[in-house]
Amino acid sequence: MKNRFTWDFLMTRYPAFFPLILLAISIIVNWILQPNMFDRETLNSNMRVFLPLVLVAVGQAVVLIGGGIDISVGGIVSIVNTILATRVGLDGSTELMWRYVLVSILVGLLAGAINGFFIAHLRLQPIITTYATSFLYGGLALFILPNPGGGIPASIAEIYRTTTPLKLPLSFFIIAIILLVWKYISSTRYGKYLFAVGGKADAAYETAVPVTSVQFSIYVISGLMAALAGIAITMLSGSGNAEIGSAITLNSITAVIIGGNSFSGGIGGVTGPVMGAITLSIIQNIISFAHINTWWETLVKATIIVIALAAPGIINLLRRSGP
């Protein structure tokens, strides 16, 4: 009988186990530095800032599970932001806003479909393709809005900022919905295909899995999640800036890896990356509360991230050289 409670077993069977530990540690540290962290107001103001990264990380997680990578997500976030900021405007109507929210989602799907077409149908390298399209989308955002400006009506932004159903932040409900949807998807046939294609695409093809469609779909999902993140970030800031998405790409990849997914595909889930994204955001929080000199901020943040990424490997190394 195999022991099902060993470290190895927990790590492989529950990929979200380690990110959960990291999340717990970062929450505790943050709590010490910011004792009012769990107050309704503070919690909400934190979570609404975290949500865009969480959304992008979910899309990125699906792409990585499917054996790809998407570095054009930041560009998609920027396009959506600039579209909303220029088309709706600070004095636009609510109806206009929702119309352009719909347009934004379509733009995200289209951008993802372009990535998917190049990668799945033309068989181009995911990293090169999305690197190229990231400039395409980022450039388009700059074309739409060359200088920061524009915006959406403050009344609409407030919906996102202050809605707290059941006295809990809106973000909690959105994350809960995402996790439930993922739970469902991962137990459907599509979910199995996703892991199969990411794990070993040749074997999946020989088993008659529609590999091309699955590869196409992951970029569409990622485009959709990036568009949702773009909408969230616009409602958060209330204004437009073509550079707004540029930092989110690498953060989303880091979040997914901290979340226990593998670069090589076929492993992981979405729960871990969601926790990874929150952990990453909390680290940012901790740094600002620890009163670290601005000059050191990047260095400290990077060090924490490197340690978090290396921790599972270091633990394995120690275990191997042990008795």
Partner: protein, 505 residues
């Protein structure tokens, strides 16, 4: 209902190379057809043709005498054709159940996979090989955690889970032990009676004669003969496969093996322990060819890797009388050891790099700085020639070679270092008869030159025909040592199964 599939005058080219120039095959329900041929003769291509993985350049397939086109694995599957692939079509990260039922998962009304049902159906399939597993397989075990033979069994179960009428077994027995092969053959007989057709692709003559009703021989992409198994003997079948007069003989059998009792000890092992080995002790004299036998996964791989310093171990190892403790293969290499690993694709070769680079990889140091590339090329060329390596040129990638020739590169790269002790892990696995014969004479020659060889093989006949002595491993210990009179097939199999000590000790 009787069904049949025929392939007529199949042509398939890969780039400029003609893998099949005139391939023919007939299969009917209720029969087992052995598709035989040397490596590179087009067997694998032929099975890919029947399975729809490759697109034809010429020729026609007929299903029940009606022309049919197989454009993808999906279309073959719809027609009830399933394949057990030589390079497994399993996804390592996924579980046993997910792998077997991929694309055909039992679903619930909500569109999700029915976990109870999938586990139940998986357990039913797993029970077909009940009793041949090392540990119990659970439907939720990830495939990556299983040993090679159990992965192979999962691949077989996956193929039959479709309930096909035609099953192609492409080298399906290569990584199975004798107990598992026997179980598979019982199942094949059962399927045959149940009206299925089986195409059996194998290098192992004994198995072909055990299970097949008909044969079809491929040579250089052409079907050169077919007929009933009962009308042909082993020698004639091999003759069909290789154009030359039979080279399939063990050069050492018959002739009296030279006595090596007066030679100095080359290798002394005492109480070797690893995670799988439970105390191994033996001695090997210089110039001996010692076999390691037993069922698969009884610690043979660990034994070779420990000696080579590639696996943490405890115990005493003496090489040429001097105590040696290797923590890294580099140290073992310096002492004149060489290891030919079991998985040549993963451990033995850099597939996409040239033959030259592969041959020189362990020896670059010898050619100084800056590299004396002309001399290196010359030496590599000489080795390639002495091994009779069939290649388009030293600069061609190893991936362009057939299995047997690729294995020659693995051996060649070590021979360039003039090793004194060779550790071989199943070097003839998936190698055609012609090349096997070349290996046998090569190994014999090396021993006569005074080199010592420790040789694990999953082919019992090979061990009996070639080795001075055979150590039979069972469950991490040396169950028995067979030599001379006691070195017979019956004893070897009995000891492998742990039934008896095989008359010795």
């Amino acid at each position: 209902m009787a069904k049949s599939l025929s392939a007529r005058n199949i042509i398939k080219r890969y780039g400029g190379v003609e893998a099949l120039s005139d391939g023919n095959l007939d299969v009917h329900t209720g029969e087992v057809v052995a598709l035989v041929g040397a490596n590179g003769s087009g067997k694998s291509t032929m099975s890919k043709v029947i399975n729809g993985v490759v697109v034809l350049d010429g020729g026609q397939l007929f299903l029940d005498d009606k022309p049919v086109q197989l454009s993808s694995p999906q279309s073959a599957k719809k027609l009830g054709i399933a394949t057990v692939f030589q390079e497994l079509s399993l996804i390592p990260q996924m579980t046993v159940a997910e792998n077997i039922w991929l694309t055909r998962e039992p679903m619930t009304a909500y569109g999700t996979v029915n976990r109870k049902e999938i586990d139940k159906k998986t357990n039913e399939l797993l029970s077909l090989f009940q009793g041949t597993y090392k540990t119990d397989i659970h439907p939720h075990d990830p495939v990556a955690s299983l040993p090679a033979d159990e992965k192979q069994i999962i691949e077989i179960l996956k193929a039959i889970s479709v309930d096909p009428w035609l099953i192609i077994l492409d080298e399906a027995t290569a990584s199975l032990d004798s107990r598992q092969v026997t179980r598979l053959f019982d199942l094949v007989k059962h399927w045959k009676e149940a009206g299925k057709a089986i195409v059996f692709v194998s290098h192992r003559m004994e198995e072909i004669f055990r299970i097949a009703d008909n044969y079809s021989v491929l040579r250089n992409g052409k079907t050169v003969g077919s007929g009933k198994m009962s009308d042909i003997n082993e020698k004639d079948l091999v003759k069909l496969m290789i154009e030359k007069e039979s080279v399939f003989s063990f050069s050492r059998t018959g002739s009296k093996k030279p006595d090596k009792a007066d030679k100095p000890m080359c290798l002394e092992v005492d109480g070797l322990h690893t995670t799988t080995l439970k105390g191994i002790s033996f001695r090997v004299r210089e110039g001996e060819l010692v076999g390691i036998g037993g069922l698969r996964g009884q610690g043979q791989r660990d034994l070779l890797l420990s000696l080579y310093g590639a696996k943490p171990h405890s115990g005493k190892i003496k090489i040429n009388g001097k105590e040696s403790k290797f923590n890294h293969p580099r140290q073992a290499m310096k002492k004149g050891l060489a290891l030919v690993p079991g998985d040549r694709a993963r451990e033995g070769l850099l597939y996409i790099r040239s033959i030259l680079e592969n041959l020189l990889l362990p020896s670059w140091k010898k050619y100084g700085f800056p590299l004396k590339i002309a001399k290196a090329k010359h030496d590599a060329g000489k080795i390639a020639e002495s091994l009779n390596l069939k290649m388009a040129g030293l600069n061609e990638p190893v991936s362009s070679l057939s299995g047997g020739n690729a294995q020659k590169v693995v051996i060649g790269k070590w021979l360039m270092r003039q090793p004194s002790l060779l550790l071989l892990n199943d070097p003839t696995k998936g190698v055609d008869v012609g090349t096997k014969a070349e290996f046998y004479s090569l190994l014999t020659n090396l021993c006569n030159e005074g080199k010592t060889i420790l040789f694990y093989s999953s082919d019992d006949e090979e061990l009996i025909g070639l080795c001075d002595r055979v150590l039979v491993l069972h469950d991490g210990i040396i169950r028995t040592e067979l030599s001379g009179e006691t070195l017979t097939k019956e004893n070897l199999i009995a000891a492998s199964l742990g039934i008896s000590n095989g008359g010795a000790l």
